[in-house]
């Protein structure tokens, strides 16, 4: 197995939204049908430069998240390739019916980029957290759901979405995240999870910003002589069932780790596969069923035990049981 995971932290300062915007700008220059739609969100989406360089390819709708999705579906129906860049909290809630009916049901080629996802908005509270978005979007037939782990994956994912005709909801965070990958030199395929680190004692399945946490926990576990497999489930739907079942069989214990409610997200998706194919001991780590505590992402993560200390402790308990 080729090593793709980055070990020492690089202190990355580049946010995923930045990379996505730059990539879309490059692609947009070559393909006039690529459009970016914003809802007073171009700053938060890092799309200011895109708008300046390709003014004909940015569509501003104002603060109107239902309209943005409806319009995107109409544009897609007429052959455009719209990328909607709007805060994940509003996109996945205010616009959910447009997403369900106009995008998923009618199968229009709309790419929904939920920006500032999870608890990125920290102290702004529950109205601005998107901790149910994976649950609702993955329950909609015909809509794929993805979360990139870092800037390398964000780039590869957005490139892969260009030729991909299906409706997609892609969630990213607001702040720069530590790299999980060494570089973007690895094969990326929609629907194919990446095993970041091999091991046979326990598996951690993570997505998005929690992949780095999983890798750090795995490293700590290694000091204890416990070998942890780390799977990056960048595509929550369609889910890579095979990799999950194999992990259940080979490592007998699975921890899931997500910046999302413990209900209905990655953990639930994995549990649906595990329980019906090869039941093993599982732990679902995420944000409990309450309005998340006020604080910055790191504070919130620490409060709920989404950190290497807690995850490795939990893994040790499961292994030594």
């Amino acid at each position: 197995m080729k090593n793709v995971a980055l070990k020492p932290l690089g202190g990355n300062k580049i946010a995923n939204r930045q990379v996505i915007s730059e990539t879309l700008l490059e692609l947009g220059k070559k393909d006039k049908d690529i459009l970016v739609l914003t809802s007073d969100s171009r700053g938060s989406a890092s799309m200011v430069k895109f708008g300046q360089e390709l003014p004909q390819q940015i569509v501003e709708v104002g603060i109107a998240e239902q309209n943005i999705v409806g319009m995107a579906s109409g544009l897609a129906h007429s052959g455009k390739k719209p990328f909607v860049a709007s805060p994940a909290c509003f996109l996945s809630m205010r616009s959910i019916e447009q997403i369900k009916v106009d995008v998923a049901y009618s199968q229009t080629n709309v790419k929904l980029i939920g920006i500032s996802g999870g608890v990125s908005y920290g102290a702004l509270g529950m109205s601005h957290h998107s901790l149910q978005d994976i649950a609702v979007t993955r329950a909609i037939p015909g809509l794929d759901v993805m979360i990139p782990a870092d800037r390398h994956e964000a780039k590869k994912m957005i490139e892969a979405l260009i030729g991909y005709e299906r409706p997609v909801y892609m969630r990213i965070g607001r702040n720069p995240v530590e790299d999980s990958y060494l570089s973007d030199d690895y094969p990326f395929e929609i629907g194919k999870a990446v095993t970041m680190k091999d091991g046979d004692d326990v598996t951690i399945i993570a997505a998005g910003e929690t992949v780095r946490v999983a890798l750090d926990a795995a490293e700590r576990l290694e000091e204890e002589g416990v070998y942890c497999r780390v799977i990056n489930m960048h595509t929550i739907k369609p889910l890579d069932q095979e990799v999950i079942i194999r992990a259940a069989k080979e490592t007998k214990r699975i921890i899931t780790l997500e910046e999302h409610s413990i209900f209905g997200g990655l953990g639930a998706a994995v549990a649906e596969v595990v329980s019906q194919n090869h039941p093993v001991l599982m732990k679902i780590l995420g944000i409990p069923d309450e309005p998340a505590i006020t604080g910055k992402t790191a504070e919130v993560f620490n409060h709920y035990g989404i950190n290497k200390e807690n995850v490795s402790k939990l893994a040790l308990q499961m292994v030594r049981k």
Binding site: G62, A64, N67, L124, I293
Partner: protein, 276 residues
């Protein structure tokens, strides 16, 4: 009759408090909080019937801050009124604080949690309708942003308020002409705003939303029993009171540097000095 100078001094003090909160927390919605400070000051120190010692008093007037993001002036006022200790303002946006970056009804004095734009009006319509059903005298006020007018739900609420003849409902639009990205008219034009509301069955009054004297006048003369809800279009200046922040798009959520903070506090202190 409330002393206008008292209100003006209050508004300036609130501006100083909110700026300090934002400066210390390193986060906040500076521009919008400053543009609506005068409106909130007149509501809370002159117009509304509320009791900080009995925040759930049944006869109280209701206020719903639909533009929830500009919460700093609101927190500063609620603390100053005594709804919660002023000391607590130091926890604004800090770990585990209830004083988050939007109204939070775990805090006494706050009716409803807001933050997602386009919710306040429908909530206020419900409250005003309840007052009618219960034959209660209280009034309901809601403050919206002008960028917020692009949300379709605003207009759903607008229709319902007229349908139910809610003359106990007063909407206020903080018409500061800016939203996050820039001027409302460049992004999603809302003019002619007054005509829109009138055509939806509302009584519409335009007012200088940073002129305390005018605000007092207008709030005191809201037409009664015309079987119509009233909308105040309050023409304001985003960033009002701090010259270098006024009408500047970036000050929507810019946090002052040390230098800017000092300059701003000096400017506000001078405004206060002449108010005697």
């Amino acid at each position: 009759m409330t002393d206008v100078t008292f209100l003006k001094r209050k508004a300036t003090e609130i501006r100083m408090t909110l700026l300090t909160m934002i400066y210390e927390a390193r986060t906040g919605h500076t521009g919008g909080s400053l543009s609506n400070t005068d409106i909130l000051t007149v509501l809370y120190y002159h117009k509304m019937n509320v009791d900080p010692n009995n925040p759930k008093w049944e006869e109280r007037d209701r206020y719903v801050q639909s533009k929830g993001h500009s919460v700093e002036s609101y927190w500063a006022i609620l603390a100053d009124k005594g709804f919660f200790p002023k000391e607590e303002l130091k926890t604004f946006s800090q770990f585990n604080s209830r004083l988050i970056g939007h109204p939070n009804n775990k805090v006494p004095g706050v009716e409803m949690n807001t933050g997602a734009l386009g919710h306040g009006l429908a909530i206020a319509v419900g409250m005003a309708l309840a007052a009618k059903l219960d034959q209660k005298e209280y009034k309901v006020y809601t403050l919206m942003g002008d960028g917020e007018q692009a949300e379709g739900s605003v207009w759903e609420g607008a229709m319902a308020a007229a349908q139910y003849k809610l003359d106990n409902l007063v909407g206020i639009i903080d018409r500061n002409r800016l939203q996050i990205t820039g001027n409302t008219e460049d992004l999603m034009g809302i003019e002619p705003l007054g005509d829109k509301w009138r055509s939806f069955g509302w009584e519409v009054i335009e007012v200088d939303g940073n002129d305390i004297e005018q605000l007092v006048q207008v709030f005191d003369n809201i037409p009664k029993a015309v079987d119509k809800p009233t909308m105040l279009i309050a023409n304001t200046v985003k960033g009002k009171g701090i010259s270098f922040a006024e009408n500047q798009t970036v000050w929507h959520h810019r946090v002052p540097t040390e230098e800017e903070y000092k300059l701003a506090m000096e400017e506000l202190s001078k405004q206060l000095e002449v108010l005697v």
